[in-house]
Subunit: 123 residues, 2 copies
DNA sequence: CTGGAAGTACGACGGCTGTCAAACTTCGAT
DNA sequence: ATCGAAGTTTGACAGCCGTCGTACTTCCAG
């Protein structure tokens, strides 16, 4: 049961084939950065609908794809829910310190939300 | 002679007022990232014409402005030459690890130029 | 004081990208 | 079997950003 690839999700790229350009293009968008930060804070994988995003469904899909192709997240299905996981270790090996630096800066800049949402709410 | 501001250059922003968004928008462009990396490698400040950039003069000016407004570089005049310096410490204090991570990744990705240009050549 | 070197300012243009609505697909529950 | 929940796909549109050429400014050298 090693190769339990789900045909519903395109194959994930090898992180070593990803360019810095691609990564920065992924992280420059506020919505995508929000996704990454929420994932970083979460204690569990999060389904697409579990994020606090102020964009339409189709736009969200687009952003998840960009993140996946940039090697930042891994996606897999559970029922009808598409789950998202941060590829922390692999990505960190390819781009040392980058993810942490961005998430740190993002947290420092993000207004301390009075609402504790964004936790590992898997519905 | 503390405030020897040169009217020819707009005031430099306080790094604490700069947003992560602004920084990433600055670093997402390959030309600007090249400038930053060359500056990081240089042992001395570099005048605008001293960089290896494959864009027109006016485009280069544009990129230098973006970097200055993002708090990444400081500019000052020496004769008719506009010099550029990395604001390493200030920037590093505001965005810990970010600059190093990007420069590191950029170097790893950049084909090992057989030509040793880009050094602190101040003409 | 005149010529040139070093950059800047100003439009203009083209392409990319984030956004959405609408139609479609797939799975699970009833 | 059917209906709804969860996302995706497609196409269209608007705005932004990098690029350039041209004209302009400022300083140094002779």
């Amino acid at each position: 049961m090693a190769g339990m690839e789900d045909d519903r999700i395109p194959p994930h790229p090898d992180v070593r084939t990803i360019t810095l350009q691609q990564v920065l293009e992924a992280l420059v968008d506020p919505v995508r950065r929000s996704i990454v930060t929420q994932l970083h804070d979460a204690t569990t994988d999060v389904r697409c609908g579990g994020f606090d995003l102020r964009v339409s469904n189709s736009t969200a899909t687009h952003h998840f794809r960009v993140l996946r192709e940039a090697g930042l997240i891994r996606q897999y299905y559970v029922g009808t829910s598409r789950m998202n996981a941060l590829r922390r270790e692999e990505f960190g090996a390819a781009f040392p310190g980058l993810l942490d630096a961005v998430v740190t800066a993002e947290r420092a800049a993000t207004p301390p939300a009075h609402d504790a949402a964004g936790r590992g709410r898997a519905v």
